[in-house]
């Protein structure tokens, strides 16, 4: 199945299925092709700032990994529009269930990037500071957390809340059984849940064409009995608009939506990956030209909503954020040995308490000697 990925369009199959229209607000030059959502200038500027902040922090993470401060990092470069747009359309009490490439969602939700760094440095599985922001810890096994999102949404129904839960998954995850089960359960129980599939075209080295034969990922929604939307994932305003609509639908008790945000993973799968072994650099260049950050920038400039002074302020914010991330990550001491045991159980079995004592003794002897 090592066919090249299709850069723009859906997978070609011989089936009498109509294409779903790709929802777009701005074209790649930042020119509106559809009514612009009614966001006030401050919120429009904020979307741009969040995307820039995400990209700069993402770059900082890659640098920190290269300097040996992080074990690994999965870059979200190129996917800022989908992540920032979708997350900005939600309320603070709406729950997010991310995978691990969602820095844009974390930045938008206000999760401290240092908490993300704690995971990639190898200090804490899943990161730190997520739950306080109504965000589940990062989850590595692909697609499995989609079920948690559905369960959380079903809990919200039972708690009488009007909150929405969002599952972030990728194109590869749509091949897993758990994502299938999650979509089906969400539909059957009309759970207030939105599935945001970031179709970044590559699951490590396997292109989209190696994952499915459906017309598109969004088409799969038809089989589950829920709306399926294909949106230009590099168009932050379009992503904001479709998530706003899907969240309103879920909030009013009309059930889940599957959103396919068509985007692209500009970087490698992680810092350990070498994409030159499996994909054509021309394809990457084509997608770089569809960049979500510069697209909104051009729109803001065209509307005279961005100034040089704003650039200076943003640059200062970025400098501060990068500095604070570095300070929180660089040469941070390893966690104490008790961390291995202290959170496994609320009420640990006696034997585990014994094992904890054994390790603590070993550690104290070693550090003393």
């Amino acid at each position: 199945m090592n066919q090249p990925s299709d850069v723009t369009g859906p997978v070609e199959v011989d089936a009498p299925v109509e294409d779903l229209e790709l929802v777009q607000v701005l074209d790649i030059d930042g020119v509106p092709v559809a009514p612009v959502p009614g966001l006030d200038p401050d919120r429009l500027r904020r979307l741009y700032e969040l995307m820039v902040l995400t990209r700069e922090l993402d770059t900082e993470f890659v640098h920190l990994q290269r300097q040996g401060q992080l074990a690994l990092y999965p870059s979200c470069r190129g996917q800022e529009g989908a992540q920032v747009g979708a997350t900005a359309a939600l309320r603070d009490r709406d729950w997010l269930f991310p995978q691990y490439r969602e820095l844009g969602a974390f930045v938008t939700r206000g999760v401290d990037p240092a908490g993300v760094g704690a995971a990639w440095r190898g200090n804490r599985h899943g990161g730190r500071g997520f739950v306080e922001r109504s965000c589940a810890p990062m989850s590595i096994p692909i697609g499995t957390h989609a079920l948690h999102a559905v369960g959380a949404a079903m809990a919200a129904q039972r708690l009488g809340e009007d909150s929405v839960t969002v599952a972030f998954v990728g194109d590869g995850a749509t091949s897993t059984g758990d994502v299938h089960e999650a979509l089906n359960f969400a539909a059957v129980f009309e759970a207030p849940c939105v599935f945001l599939v970031q179709n970044n075209h590559w699951a490590i080295s396997v292109p989209l064409t190696g994952q499915l034969r459906a017309r598109s990922i969004a088409h799969k929604a038809i089989g589950y009995g829920m709306p399926g939307v294909r949106v230009d994932g590099n168009d932050v305003l379009a992503c904001w608009a479709v998530m706003t609509e899907a969240a309103a639908r879920a909030r009013s008790g009309r059930g889940p939506t599957l959103i396919e945000a068509v985007t692209y993973r500009i970087g490698p799968h992680t810092t350990s990956d070498d994409p030159n072994r499996y994909r054509d650099p021309d394809e990457v260049a084509q997608w770089a030209a569809r960049d979500p950050v510069s697209r909104l920038r051009r729109y803001l400039e065209r509307c005279r909503l961005w100034s040089t002074a704003a650039d200076d302020q943003l640059a200062e914010d970025v400098r501060r954020a990068r500095r604070s991330l570095r300070a929180a990550v660089v040469d941070v001491p390893d966690p104490p040995p008790g961390d291995l045991f202290d959170h496994v159980f609320a009420d640990p079995p006696p034997d585990l308490r014994r094992q904890r004592r054994q390790l603590t003794d070993e550690w104290e002897r070693r550090t003393r000697g």
Binding site: P141, T144, H148, V150, G151, R158, D178
Partner: protein, 322 residues
Amino acid sequence: MVQALNAALRDAMHDDDRVVVFGEDVARLGGVFRVTEGLAGEFGERRCFDTPLAESAIVGIAIGMAVRGLRPVPEIQFDGFSYPAVDQIVSHLAKYRNRSQGQLSMPITLRLPSFGGIGSPEHHSESTETFWMHTAGLKVVVPGSAADAYSLLRESIECDDPVIYLEPKRRYWDKETVPVGTRTEPLGQAVVRRAGHDVTVLTYGGLVGTALQAAEAAHRTRGWSLEVVDLRSLVPLDFETLARSIVSTGRCVLLHEGPRTLGVGAEIAARIQEELFWNLEAPVLRVTGFDTPYPPARLEGLWLPGVDRLLDTVERSLGYAE
């Protein structure tokens, strides 16, 4: 035992609005073993509901519900159908609390009708306890009597840690008078079911009854005095109680249905020789199922450890004289 389990679920749902019960056929039908009978009618479909047929999802949604503060009690219809949910159980249920540094507990009780002895088709008679014991972060509870079935289920649901609750199907229809709503010894405590001074028999679940039967027969026909210890929970394991018994008898036989290799008996035997070496008059012996797939119904009587195989082994243990 079915009625005791049903009463435990009903009382738990009554006492705590956060308790929800779901799984395949649990609502409209009341469960294939009728353990959940009447709950949907009494508490409504929000609290007790049927799910589509997907075990991974049953555990997966329970995890999401626990993140949001509910106390789910999902049912997997049979032991052998827990395998599609292993990823959710091992990768998430067991690890979520640790991953969130204790911010998110998983107060989930996963009920698994378990073990053999009822003449079922393939995949309906599995012993899965070793998998769960080997997975850090799970508690593993196995009631052997109706009274314990009620009490341990109540305690499991109240517990903030995830509990794999293995119900011995062969005891489902045992008749036993259980005082309504009564708690027995706490979860985590093993109980001496029959006192004796020659050999300690350690077991749990459906085989507690078998061990008691064997002890009675041994006493009557051979004059041996067997002490039967019901472990009740495998995690936590009450090593103190079983050690006290072994110190007094000097001999130990472990009895379980699951295959021998790396079974519960292997772990406990290892620990006994590590900690009680000088108290032993004989090697710790195991009476278990064989290292084969669980047999078809016509052969399970041959395969399952019963009174005869247990007493043969007790005799071997007693054969190690000073």
